[in-house]
Symmetry: C2
Subunit: 385 residues, 2 copies
Amino acid sequence: MRDVAIIGIGMNKWGELWESRIRDLYVESALAAMDDAGVDHVDSMYVGCMSGGLFVGQEHIGALMADYLGQAPVPATRVESACASGGAAVRLGFMEVASGMSDIVLVGGVEKMTDVDGGGATYALATAADQEYEAFHGVTFPALYAMMARAHMAKFGTTREQLAQVAVKNHENGSKNPKAQFPFKVTLEQVINSTAVADPLCLLDCSPVTDGAAAIVLASVETAKRLGKHQIVKITGSGQASASIAYHSRRDLTFLSSTEKAAQAACKMAGCTPSDVDLFEVHDCFSIAEIMVIEALGLVEPGKGGPATMAGATAIGGEFPVNASGGLKAKGHPVGATGVAQVIELTEQLRGDAGARQVKNARKGLAQNMGGTGASATVHILEVE
Amino acid sequence: MRDVAIIGIGMNKWGELWESRIRDLYVESALAAMDDAGVDHVDSMYVGCMSGGLFVGQEHIGALMADYLGQAPVPATRVESACASGGAAVRLGFMEVASGMSDIVLVGGVEKMTDVDGGGATYALATAADQEYEAFHGVTFPALYAMMARAHMAKFGTTREQLAQVAVKNHENGSKNPKAQFPFKVTLEQVINSTAVADPLCLLDCSPVTDGAAAIVLASVETAKRLGKHQIVKITGSGQASASIAYHSRRDLTFLSSTEKAAQAACKMAGCTPSDVDLFEVHDCFSIAEIMVIEALGLVEPGKGGPATMAGATAIGGEFPVNASGGLKAKGHPVGATGVAQVIELTEQLRGDAGARQVKNARKGLAQNMGGTGASATVHILEVE
């Protein structure tokens, strides 16, 4: 397996984009990535998308996007692992270049979530849970994560304020991200007093419903050097893992085992540990999720995620900055695109192009993307040469 | 890239299986494949599935199946390319073993199509077409293929009888396949006089709506030899291509360009031409499709697919046997599983285990799987050592 570089990145401004179709979102982002890379042709494509079928009545997303991007007849495959669809697509693109099967691979992610009503979006997202044992009975994702939050609070004494601080910190970061859906700051009081969704989670603990896309171009390091447009940012580790999908099969509701295992695999490949990493983009679909992810990554002991967040460890300038982009919370969460956008943020940071949200001396980054309530997770490690 | 062998195969009997859930179909087939391989653990999984969301309200299919198969925490990714989802999954499993990233990979395909009413299945399948320019206006897959058939008849003089002969031949073969949904013979008169669906296509020109799954275990040739359970059947070529999704963008309605390009790529990798191949499993979702596929593969000149079929060239014992399994027509077409089942049939044939439908001296087989009306296609070439 040979080294793989990220040679181009692109994403549209995320939000409620009623004037754009799913293909428009994708093509805008993919063209930006190809322009950033300086290529007008790719050898192969992967498109992460959770539910084109339920959100916009469109499957066959890979071929559709290859066609509208003007890249047909290249191979184009849609990849799905619920909200980790983007991360799974990154992994396949990495594998295809690393194997030598292709030299230049376009990895995109896209979701058009606002063309259904609120109930439609909630139903579509709930298909990431176990339909027969969970979703069918009416449980929704805010409810599932609220159960995790309650369990975490009961076991470790995690507080309402600690949960809210995740949102405060991510909106602080997101206020500096021009691509973010909600680029504004919020206070602890605003989060805690926002509309209740599923106790203890309020509206501002939840990532939003978003239309958006993200794309990266991967290539061999030789090709990256030949093109010579950017500093070489490499993917040095890729890990993926699964876990029980339904809660009733889990040993522990407060620990994300798939994230731990995916991180171990990625770190083994990269020859590092999470403590060697300078910054993290993680899956904060709900405030409790970010706390549990930093625990699963081993950045803090189980139960210490809340206090560490409150103490500023995860802020830009903190001990281990998390979600400098604003995270899913402020940047938005078009589910199939999120895992790709995490890699874009890390690439901008490692290139030193992150502007007002730049993490100083960023040399190594880790992206963690998660499907459902953690039944799947992907982790990628990026390093600048 | 190293050599890849098929070390295990498994599929359930296909049909209208109202007593089985999607996970049951998958697990039954996957366990059969693992048993055939003699392994109780795999390193990674790919699951081809077109629309778990629209058919059964379940996305996150990869993680779900890993969980219910007892293989979590292995990486598990769902792959979609409409009706070529299975072929796309085979390609990714092949790539993962060939790259050395994993040693043993389980590739499955599954679709549970009968838990919606007829209109629901027609809607779900139509999402493989361009939703905005085709499906939205009410066009269905029988209608789309009927347009291809009419264009082919107008351009080349293909006859109604030639179309019907595809179904007659495939039901003849399928009558010898115990796993087939419709294991019985039909006559030319029965096909032509069956209920009209979309002129010129009648009910018996159309593949059915099916519940089913199929799974194969891939491994390095070294591992295959160590396990030593079967003759070594290798995947020696893999090709995939895309094409315009909507008809209005195509130069020629009568030619399947993605199949041609995928076959060229697979043959280049395998170092052969389609004329070197002993038997073919191809995507006969409608009778016209098989005729167009053998033309796109270059087995006959464009326009000669109908006469060749009528002359018996594609029958078992003919010049180039096509769909000895019974094809999608008689075996059934659970869309995400079809591409994997094609590889199973070829493996059985190459092992010499195909019983009453055995193609004599089968050493090399080709599987062609197609998404939508040909916006995507995969081709794999298998050889027995």
